[in-house]
Symmetry: C2
Subunit: 341 residues, 2 copies
């Protein structure tokens, strides 16, 4: 069963990574243009063409969302995605008087200080963006060290790509895909427990719950040293038909999931950004059904953040914080160790 | 020891309530004008003169913040507070060419459907605002059924006024005062546990922790019926010297506390608004110290929300949800029952 973002019909994702440079790109594509908006609550975002997603702007639907490493350089990835879309548009029968323009929006995260071998002069991201766009499939989204999450870190552990999904009582699917690179931490203190534990499904990130001393741990500040920037970026999507205003609210409730999953979140040096997307596959919800979708957005976003950290690959990277699996996998009961990816 | 908002030097609060009408007003005053900003993340706010708090606006400091019941009618409370400040200003020695203007900002919550006996035609709030402004003291902020929290409710329990405080490792005090009237719930499912439990200090709201089935409970939507509006409003303040931009970020991190404390928060029919305030008593923090202040803002706001619900008075109100104390106080161990207010 696909419990990731691509469980929503019409959404595909492609992921490209460079393990030597410790960076990557994820592209989220829509079978038909999707209603979208965005919530930016971090103080240091790196974004491309996102102001058009404010509900008062004219463009209501987009073709793709790009998540990438590379900070300001990563924003080149959209160029590559646009090039792929231009090729595809050029192959369509022309409509007189109509010019097809690919609407692609992007958020990047700062992975420039993670010890990877970066090219000091040239951005690889346009090429990676094109590769990721061509690689897009409806397969389950990879977890951990993949795509935009490849070079991600948190205050104490490696970050990564995480995705979670649920169905509301009214039958709407809500799914999130997050690339977790927070200045703060998704785990409690220096231990293995995740802040998202109250929402954890079926032991998906270790089943460890919260520690008894979480209130004491919460009083200590754990952030990246030397004022290194961070960012938790991602998308929360539903198959419900939403207006752009409702997609904006979906994004805000996704940010609540970030607030639940990361402590502290939304710092001045964070670029925390969540896209809210509707594929318009199912009817428009009434207010109660919409509230259930919004609550689900908080839950799946919080879970996706924890999953991104939990699944970071144990690659033994030098000059980088360890992965959760490197530091804590021995704590898991044997059946959990067998099942983890 | 004062563990509430007024533990910050120079902040006083006054509270007026009408238990028959089930509404009230809280006024937060500053010994000298305080730097302030605001974060509005609910979809149905009732606010007065808050746009001037955006960091790009000219006015940087304010004289008072008003929290009230009464929704749109409650916004009259500022008029009463202004009248008190005008009297005080008139008693000061005049400065030629200088006109003193009281800068008062306000957020109201919707308590019109809580079963209280409302005057259908006349707003009592200007009078209540003046009374509350005159009553302001540095005493600890009352908890539960007081001031703006008097008529507050959540999805399943009465709401109220809550305040919490902490000191960061760098010695800055951070305190929150919240009036909790959420469309969603501060407690998990239909049980007694608070979502803020991971941050609870010294069993201050029952010491019950989180239930083992929180993840299952989180999948069920619990909101006020019949599309009744709600709102969690309040203030998070510090004695650190902050710029208006930093006060805005303080307010955003306070909203993260709301997101931690309430599920779901920030709904379309919520007016969730948090003011961020600096009294400029202590020096400006460096980035690390500021991050510690911001993290503390999340913690004290989340705790204040839980405290507001926990302390709602057991008044046996008809046509209203029960208070936590009415429904659950029997669950507490005997020493906690003796100590609760």
């Amino acid at each position: 069963m696909n419990g990731t973002l691509t469980s929503i019909a019409g959404i595909t994702t492609g992921h490209v990574q460079d393990l030597t440079a410790r960076t990557g790109v994820s592209v989220i594509r829509f079978a038909r243009p999707a209603v979208a908006s965005v919530s930016v609550l971090g103080g240091a975002p790196a974004l491309r063409d996102t102001h058009l997603l404010e509900p008062e702007m004219m463009v209501e639907r987009i073709h793709a969302i790009v998540l990438s490493g590379g900070s300001v350089y990563g924003l080149d990835a959209t160029t590559g995605v646009q090039s792929v879309l231009r090729e595809e548009f050029a192959a369509l029968p022309p409509v007189p008087g109509k010019i097809r323009v690919p609407v692609v929006v992007q958020a990047s995260l700062f992975d420039l200080a993670n010890g990877g071998e970066k090219d000091p002069l040239h951005s690889p991201y346009a090429h990676m963006g094109a590769q990721a766009a061509r690689a897009a499939t409806a397969q389950p989204v990879p977890a951990g060290t993949a795509g935009a999450g490849t070079g991600a870190t948190t205050a104490t552990l490696r970050g990564g790509l995480g995705s979670a999904s649920m169905v509301t009582p009214q039958g709407y699917r809500v799914s999130a895909l997050m690339a977790v690179n927070a200045v703060g931490s998704a785990t409690v203190g220096h231990g293995p427990h995740f802040w998202s534990a109250p929402f954890e499904q079926e032991g998906e990130f270790g089943g460890l719950g919260l520690p008894a001393d979480s209130a004491a741990a919460a009083q200590h500040l754990l952030i990246k040293p030397d004022y290194v920037a961070g960012t938790t970026i991602g998308i929360v999507a539903t198959d419900a038909t939403l207006s752009p205003v409702q997609a904006k609210r979906l994004a805000i409730l996704g940010q609540d999931g970030v607030a639940r999953a990361v402590l502290p979140a939304h710092l001045p040096q964070d670029g925390d950004t969540v896209f809210g997307v509707s594929t318009e596959e199912k009817p428009a919800p009434d207010l109660t059904a919409f509230c259930a979708i919004l609550q689900a957005a908080t839950l799946v976003t919080a879970r996706a953040v924890a999953l991104g950290v939990y699944h970071a690959a144990p690659l033994g990277w030098q000059n980088c914080v360890p992965s959760w699996q490197e530091k804590f996998a021995g704590l898991l009961p044997p059946h959990a160790q067998e099942n983890r990816s």
